[in-house]
């Protein structure tokens, strides 16, 4: 009961933050405009701490707390090197090179979305629409997963008292409300609050569980002593080439529209300084406890729910070739470790901490707010405004259209979440990461390569659309030489941008000069 009360209190707080942000609209908005900038970009006026914590929070999804521990439970310490330390290096580096320049071009030319910049930089119209379509298609699975995660988490935290359909509806309503009213300002403040919760939770959980387990050294020695679990403490089960491939995945971050758009919200460029320096430290603070706890859970043989998972894993490892695909899938589900951190807290932590964990999980699964706002921003700027809506109806109607789009997207995501199996969208999100990594050459070319052209951009966009569909529908596709598909996808994107651009006419000198 206590965890459920704390989670509902959390939902009330984030709702209040969104509405409070609505009341704090920029006083500089006159009748002539900047209403769109204020709603979609928080008036380009976010302060340094909100910029850092919110940007980090935007990247913290349900996977960070639950999925990372689950991955480490099954695969061992390699999870941290695969997903955390590579991100700790690549993401701030791209923020430094691409984010700062994107911020400057946004301020110089008034851009609100990356497609607006692509259209201007490459002197194109409909090619920008094609980029919008691919970006939007890759973003939608995230929003659906967020609603599904909300329903599942709320149902689990209230021990089934709130059913899945109602949990999903409550979470969708709360997210929709603070995005609807608060726009970027509300979303950024909520993300800041969530990040503070994440950072506090990780440290507390580690200390409490460590004490409960009788100290981590004993747990690690237990794991090392068993031939079945000792490989989890090394990385011998993963090939170095696969490990190398993963360093391409963080390239997706800067290409995600919600991150690119967020780069435009900083009041001053100096706010990127703290962000790029502290980003690796935030990753360390969140991921290290989650990964370590996931690995340590393998030593909890005295906990029936963990032992059932280990038993399912052993059965799967020794399964005969004749075992059906359905039986294997059922065993994989039983062996999955996404809930090991909640189990550890239930076993070792007091109720109040379980409640904070519940709020932390809700914060993680509600990370779809930024994606909903980004999709709304892209639609109103790249489609509604570009095809004459803003000129015909004015900026106030444009913002109202954006708000209406937030409602429509949330309702559609909720309806799909009720009807479709989650596994489909889990898979879609995985391919979306590769897709956005392969789209990142668009940003690099637009900002740094004068000779790049709209035809090069179109070739990259079509290639990414094809490659995502191809890899998602054909097992083993593009997994060349043991690499993950993201590597050839990104390399081919780069090659297409270079070859096609050199073979087609460059944009006018006056346009290129505006990007110096």
């Amino acid at each position: 009961m206590i965890p459920a009360v704390l989670v509902f209190a959390y939902l009330a707080i984030v709702l209040y933050i969104g509405i409070f942000a609505f009341r704090r609209r920029s006083p500089s908005i006159g009748p002539d405009g900047r209403a769109a900038e204020d709603y979609f970009l928080a008036g380009r006026a976010l302060g340094p701490m909100v910029f850092l914590l919110s940007l980090f929070g935007t990247n913290m999804t349900a996977f960070t707390i639950l999925g990372s521990a689950g991955h480490a439970f099954a695969n061992g310490v390699v999870t941290f090197g695969l997903m955390a330390s590579s991100s700790a290096f690549i993401i701030p580096l791209t923020l430094f090179f691409v984010g700062t320049r994107m911020w400057a071009m946004g301020r110089r030319h008034g851009f609100i979305t990356p497609v607006q910049m692509f259209r201007d930089r490459w002197e194109c119209g409909h090619i920008g629409t094609a980029i919008f379509v691919v970006q939007a298609a890759l973003l939608v699975p995230y929003i659906i997963i967020g609603v599904m995660g909300g329903g599942t988490a709320l149902s689990a935290i209230t021990s089934g008292f709130v059913p899945y359909w109602l949990g999903g509806a409550i979470v969708a309503m709360v997210v929709m409300s603070y995005v609807f009213f608060g726009g970027m300002r509300g979303t950024a403040w909520v993300n800041t609050f969530q990040t503070v919760l994440f950072l506090s939770f990780g440290a507390i959980a580690l200390v409490v569980i460590g004490r409960g387990m009788g100290g981590f050294p004993a747990a690690i020695e237990t794991l090392l002593a068993s031939p079945a679990s000792a490989p989890l403490i090394t990385r011998e089960r993963v090939s170095p080439l696969f490990f190398f491939s993963y360093t391409f995945i963080p390239l997706s971050t800067i290409a995600f529209p919600h991150i690119t758009i967020f780069c435009l919200t900083a009041r001053r460029m100096a706010q990127f300084r703290r962000t790029v320096i502290f980003y690796p430290l935030c990753i360390l603070a969140i991921w290290l406890p989650c990964v370590f706890l996931g690995v340590a859970a393998n030593a909890m043989h005295d906990t029936p729910r963990i032992e059932q998972k280990l038993e399912a894993r052993r059965t799967l490892a020794s399964a005969p070739a004749s075992m059906s695909a359905d039986e294997r899938a059922a065993l994989r589900r039983r062996a999955a470790g996404d809930d090991v951190v909640p189990i550890m807290l239930e076993r070792y932590a007091p109720l109040w901490l379980a409640g904070i964990l519940g709020a932390g999980i809700m914060a993680a699964v509600m990370a779809s707010d930024s994606q909903i706002l980004a999709l709304s921003t892209m639609f109103t700027e790249d489609v509604f405004a570009f095809y004459g809506g803003k000129a015909r109806f004015g900026e106030a109607v444009q913002v109202q259209t954006g708000r209406l789009f937030v409602v429509v997207v949330t309702v559609v995501a909720y309806v799909i979440a009720l009807r479709a199996p989650q596994s489909i969208f889990d898979l879609a999100v995985q391919y979306a990461f590769s897709g956005y990594s392969a789209l990142s050459p668009l940003l690099f070319a637009a900002l740094f390569w004068k000779r790049s052209t709209k035809w090069g951009a179109l070739a990259v966009t079509l290639w990414v659309a094809f490659a995502v569909i191809y890899t998602a529908t054909t097992p083993g596709a593009l997994a060349w030489f043991g690499l993950m598909p993201v590597v050839p996808m990104t390399m081919i994107s780069c090659a297409l941008m270079i070859i096609v651009s050199l073979a087609t006419p460059a944009p006018s000198a006056s346009t290129v000069a505006r990007y110096n």
Binding site: F89, P92, P217, T234, E236, M269, V276, I277, L281
Partner: protein, 70 residues
Amino acid sequence: MRGLFLTVAIIGLYGLHQDIWFWRTARPLLFGFLPVGLWYHAAYCLAAALLMWVITKTAWPTHLEEEPRR
């Protein structure tokens, strides 16, 4: 010269992520419980933060900083 130093540092740190020399070993354990495959990459995060500090100190794009707002 400064550009060359930063380029080498960035490529070098990227290369250090691929620590195949600790691939099949758990020891030494830091504080008695953190396997080398974990603490090496935790230290890598600290090194990344340090490099980001150096980059922002020595290669900050000041020419972009005072963009006039349209």
